[in-house]
């Protein structure tokens, strides 16, 4: 077994192979793996941050919810109060309106009854006059005695 010129062939192959592997595989792959390491680290950090943010957001949401509940309770209370007020007002107005309508009705009734009395009075006067005419055909002179009769009618 001797050393032969094959040795140099092998050295050449070796040099070419190292250069090729370096350029094509080792370089890109180490870079890619480093980039991936960074990305994974960033991702984990982001996840941690996200978790933290979520916690904060949850706390804020709970806070907002409590505030909203409080607001809602306040609004309901105010609305209830206002509702009661409106009912009271309505009641008052209704009473006033009722009283007013009652008064109107009463006055109308009064007017009607006055008119009816007036009519009645007039009819009665005429009736009395007609009756008296029939009874005293000749003795009573309508113009002469109308003054007297009117007095009578007024007394009725």
């Amino acid at each position: 077994m001797n050393i032969t010129v094959t040795l140099f062939g092998q050295i050449l192959t070796f040099v070419v192979l190292v250069a090729f592997v370096w350029r094509v595989l080792w370089g890109p792959m180490t870079q890619m793996m480093e980039a991936r390491r960074v990305r994974i680290a960033d991702g984990l950090a982001a996840a941690e941050r996200g978790k933290h943010d979520l916690e904060l957001a949850e706390r804020r949401a709970a806070e907002r919810l409590r505030e909203a509940k409080q607001d809602a309770a306040d609004i309901v209370a105010v609305a209830g109060k206002r509702g009661n007020e409106i009912i009271e007002e309505a009641k008052e107005q209704a009473q006033i309106e009722g009283e007013r309508q009652l008064a109107v009705a009463i006055s109308e009734i009064e007017q009607e009854s006055n008119r009816a009395r007036e009519d009645l009075r007039r009819h009665f006067g005429n009736l009395v006059l007609a009756t008296a005419e029939k009874i005293l055909e000749r003795e009573i002179d309508a113009p002469t005695h109308s003054e007297f009769i009117n007095k009578m009618v007024k007394k009725l």
């Binding site: 077994m1 001797n2 050393i3 032969t4 010129v5 094959t6 040795l7 140099f8 062939g9 092998q10 050295i11 192959t13 070796f14 040099v15 070419v16 192979l17 190292v18 090729f20 592997v21 370096w22 094509v24 595989l25 080792w26 370089g27 890109p28 792959m29 180490t30 890619m32 793996m33 980039a35 991936r36 990305r39």
Partner: protein
């Protein structure tokens, strides 16, 4: 397969299997320096192309979000190598990672050729008129020494680059034995030069020969097992193959790790390194 030895005796069979397909062809298993081992080179180059193809295929379609199949596998491998570099390499040099990665993958694949049944590829090759074929590139001395020699060249290059030319010379003069006064220093210089040369040369030689020895021995044992009667071969063959999976991985790993460690040493200046 005992049958496949045909009319060859065991010695001829083994010698036949240990002969490369070469230009010019080997004479009685003997070659000189200007012989080119076509089989070693082509199998190594073929596996290099396989590695390159896989690298290109994965590298062109890197998907950071949904890595699949081969990309997953290469990512695991790359992270494993990167971890070794981080653990063993002091300082920073972008070359070390790809270098170690390529060494590991390529040596592993070349070693893995040992697991292909020892007679299969030579038998197939015999149909197209190729009479000698050694399929394991790392079981040929040239390949391990080519790799170790390349690493050695890098070691010297970075030694000079980091320590400067003067520092590199100083390393030979005042290392490993350091002394306090100037006379002792001068006296120690010859010893230091010899020791450092031995130390430095031992690195590529031990790396190369370790890999070569393991793979050559492994191949030889497969050849010996193939000489047994066919009905018993599965037992030692299976056992050795399973054990050999460990060896080929381990040898690839050791080669890679030693490369990282030696280059790390080359990157340290004298004061911090020793």
């Amino acid at each position: 397969m005992a049958e496949s030895t045909g009319d060859l005796g065991p010695v001829e069979y083994i010698q036949h299997h240990l002969t490369n397909l070469s230009v010019p062809p080997a004479v009685d298993g003997k070659v000189d320096f200007w012989t080119f081992h076509i089989d070693t080179f082509l199998f190594a180059a073929g596996l290099a192309v396989l590695v390159g193809w896989a690298a290109k295929k994965v590298g062109d379609h890197l998907d950071p979000d949904k890595p699949t199949g081969l990309q997953n596998f290469l990512e695991i491998l790359l992270e494993f190598v990167e971890q070794q570099v981080k653990d063993a390499f002091v300082g920073y040099n972008p070359l070390i990672g790809p270098l170690a990665f390529t060494l590991f993958v390529w040596i592993f694949l070349m070693n893995a050729m040992d697991l292909v049944p020892v007679d299969l590829l030579p038998w197939l090759a015999s149909f197209i008129g190729i009479h000698y074929l050694k399929v394991v590139p790392t079981a040929n001395l040239d390949t391990p020494l080519a790799l170790a020699g390349s690493v050695f060249a890098l070691i010297i290059f970075y030694n000079i680059k980091v320590k400067s030319g003067l520092g590199f010379v100083k390393m030979f003069l005042f290392h490993p034995f350091a002394a306090g006064n100037i006379i002792a220093k001068i006296l120690l210089i010859p010893v230091n030069i010899v020791m450092t040369i031995v130390e430095e040369l031992a690195k590529p030689v031990s790396m190369g020969l370790r890999l070569f020895g393991n793979m050559f021995a492994g191949e030889l044992i497969f050849i010996l097992i193939a000489l047994l009667p066919w009905w018993i071969q599965w037992l030692p063959g299976g056992a050795w193959a399973i054990f050999h999976v460990l060896i080929i991985t381990l040898q690839a790993f050791i080669f890679m790790l030693l490369t990282i460690v030696y280059l790390s040493l080359a990157h340290q200046s004298m004061d911090e390194g020793h």
